[in-house]
Amino acid sequence: MKKIDKIFFFTIVLIIIATHLYAYRVWIFSADVLTHGDWFLSFPSYSKSLLSIPIMWKSYSGGVMDLTPPFYVFLLLEGILSNIGISYAHIQRITFMWPIALLTLPFTFLLIRSFTKNPIAALVGATVYTYNTYFLVIQSGHLTMMTAFALAPLFLLLFRTTLDKNKIFYGLLAGLAAFLMSVYEFRAFYMAVAIAGFYYIYYLSIISDRKISKAFGATWKLAIIPILVPIILNLYWILPFIFATSSIGNAVFSRELFGKEFYDIIKSTTIFHPFWNNSKYLPFITQPIPFYFFILPFFAFLGLYLNKRNKYVLFFGLISLLGIFLTKQNNPPFPDIYMWLYTHIPGFAAFREASKFYFLIALGYSVLIGMFVDWIWMNWKNGKLKLTKYIITFLILLLSLWNLKPLITGEYGTLFTPRKIPNEYIVLNDYIDKQHEFFRTLWVPADSRWGAHTNLHPKLAIANTVTSNWKDFTNASAYQALGDQFIDFFKKDNSPMLLDQTSIKYVIVPLDDTKNDDNFFVHFLKPPNNYINSLNKLTYLKRVDINTKQIAVFENKSYRPHIYITASKETIKRPLPYERIEFTTVSQSEYRVQLKNISKPTYLHFTDTYHPDWRIKIGNFNWYASLFNKSYFAPNNFHYKNDVNLNSFLIDPEYIKKHVNKGDYKINSDDSVDTIITLYFSPQSHSQVGLILAILFILFMIHYMVKYVYENYKKQN
């Protein structure tokens, strides 16, 4: 590199670093709480409870099979950090914001650098990837996805190195990178693996000098390692999902396509996110495309043409074209193909809107533009063209950096603006946390991000429950405004029983948090006072004064405990007398319940959402034994979904006397039965088997990799 080129390189490095650090200053240097949109915060009591083995049943949404089981790894990290006294503001930075802000650019630089010797080309290409509008939009709230995309270039680089160097060591490293991606966002992992698979086919047919069959024979074992590693390390949730009677898969994979109106081929070609306006973030409002967004695709495809003899560049051209085609979703040209893929390709149904495929375009364009810059630096060495290459390089850099403008000025808001918890929520959370028995809180119309959620006091939002557990009790189409539906819901005859049987002790109307840009009341077309006035009129709820001016809290005194029994079948039609019983919470998947003096068939109720895999074991319980004995638990016909869509079990003393080992229960003098039963979410056992296998595999990997590094070190010295 000539001296002037070196000066140019270091100048753009300085510009990028300075701009980047200033744009991401809130993430990198401050310790403020950051929350916005779908990015909620966690309170210490909940964070600390995350230090455990993976638990397949979660307390949110009235109890549900874990919706995001791959998150376990970073949630465990959150649990560890929280227990050693690190604040959530720092935890979210360690787990998400710092990796995104500090790793995306270097990893992409390394990937592009593997195709070119020119560091300027690699750096400019890396800025195209790092500062594209889609990535900036998802940094407003979907940090799990963005962290996975930050790791993607590293995974692809390691995958490529595995094939080139023919070493298992790199395959294992690529596998670990893929595993980390899967931890943060399984869909990003899915895409990256698909790219790797595509690259492997391309490698066999185009890149490798050998015949396809010979190249395949020599490399297939290596190519499969980066896919096998994440699969084995994810067994702790894959196994329970395979063996569970019903899982989130049904819900996630049966959703309809969404967002057709936001996407089209122009936006995908120009890698322009439909909500991007280079100013304050306005979700779900389509924005016009500024003309300068056409410059990047122009240079990208020019880069492809100019480097057409470079096999690697061609691969990224194909990736870009594929990305453009998928990101336009079910819009012309060929609008029906996306729908076909959505219904026929396994796993594709997780992409009900196509924005995630912007990743493919960003990846493709970053390499193509990097190689375009490489070409002009190789070929424009003299005369006027020499100056032009500096101008074009700087122009491309400026186009990418210009997207950081709203982050630099602070107008972008979202997760780049520090937030402060309103004092009223501190009072409310304290009031709830001080109570030591289980109950739920129901938030109307939606839960505030500042209201604490714990396993002891889970939050429910009426906006969600009326479309899930309570959808049979109200009809959304009968109302013009959703707010009216929620207000009317409380007036229904069976609503008091619904609240009781779902263990809801408090109904809370939050405040309209305009200071934190979080006034969700507007979505439901009713202001807070409408809800408060309506709830005030109800006889079964009583307003309690907890020293808050705006947040209104109503108490439901007749709420049921988490686990209780009744003499007859629980019903929503009338209130029944019930009996509290003693129980111990081992985990969210396992409860130990003491039953005493059971003399006639009794109904045991567990106020979490019904799931067929909740089972009961009478007497001693061993999770390992439950895997191999089909009749380990009480038969399924003793378990049913009650009127409120929760779990109820019939406990029959005669069945116990006939079928249960004598050591597992006690017959009293009045012929009644005392016993201890375990209420257990059976997929948990499969999770534990998967966890053991994953740990053994990690130990094997560590052993192999340490040995490899040590032997290499010995060879070199």
Binding site: S205, I266, F284, F301, L318, F325, P332
Partner: protein
Amino acid sequence: MSMKTTKNKINIFLRKRIVRVFTIPAALLLMWAILTLWYMVSYDNSFLILSHTHSIENFTNAPNERLEKGKKITGSFVAPENNLGIVSIRFGKYVRIPYKDEDTLVFRIRRSGQDKWYYENRYRSGTMYDVPLFPFGFPVINDSKNKKYEFELISLNGNNKNGLKVSQRQPILVSKYQIPKSLLNSDKKEFALLLGKKIYTSFKIVDIWFSSLMYILPLFLYLIHISRFKKRIFYYGMGFDNIILLFLLMPALFDTVFLQSSDDLLYIIYIVIWLIIVKIQKQTSKYSYLFGLIFLIITPWFLLRNNAAVALKATSWAYMFLVAGTIQILIESKLRKKKYEKS
């Protein structure tokens, strides 16, 4: 049988005179007929629907500006068939606006001279963005033949950002008629008559004859290829005066600027023809990328003029040319690898 032997046998078969001058042209002609008929049916979503186009004169009021609140588009036509069930109007396609800002429109239709509207419904303007020739459907009118109908489209919230405007691109007004299935089962003559009508009415629609011309293009080019004009036409000029490539560019430009056809098969036929021609001419991917990039850079100009329909078409064609160019590079890479393996 080895791959090589099969390939040789196919080559020998294709070189036979009868195959070259009769079988292949007949097959291409058959392909044209089938594809044209298929597109006629898919254009109306059914064989049993007849479309009749009407002219701009049928609009009694079609403002030149965007339809603002309280203003209306009105028109009338005489139904040439029984079973009138749809009136389609083509609207201009502008840059999409947010859902909450969309206009709401009331469409209504009645027989001319009657006081009461036969049918009335509300529509959001955003729906017309996805379907520019928007079909306003209503319960089928069985005895509509030779009767005059008038329709109105009234804007409830229109303004200069969300208002609709009748397009200038033909057809702008189409009435559609549902043919009862029973008619086909009862009489073969009726079926033949229907087929004749279907073909006749379909060819009045510019989209259909354009697609049909494109479907026959392979036959046309093949005939040139086997004729004595081959060298004059296929190899005349290999730079920017490359006559055949410039000729091929015309349909893409026409489709972009004037037609914006929704027939995706056009792209496939076009790109296949394109790839065959550039292979015959032994061209590199230069022209594919050149045309792709030209289409790409004209797009913002149409966007600035708020002509989303043309901008979308231009990008679609840009994409197709870039795909074609990339396929060419891929094939070249594959061939280089094969050569390397052999050597």
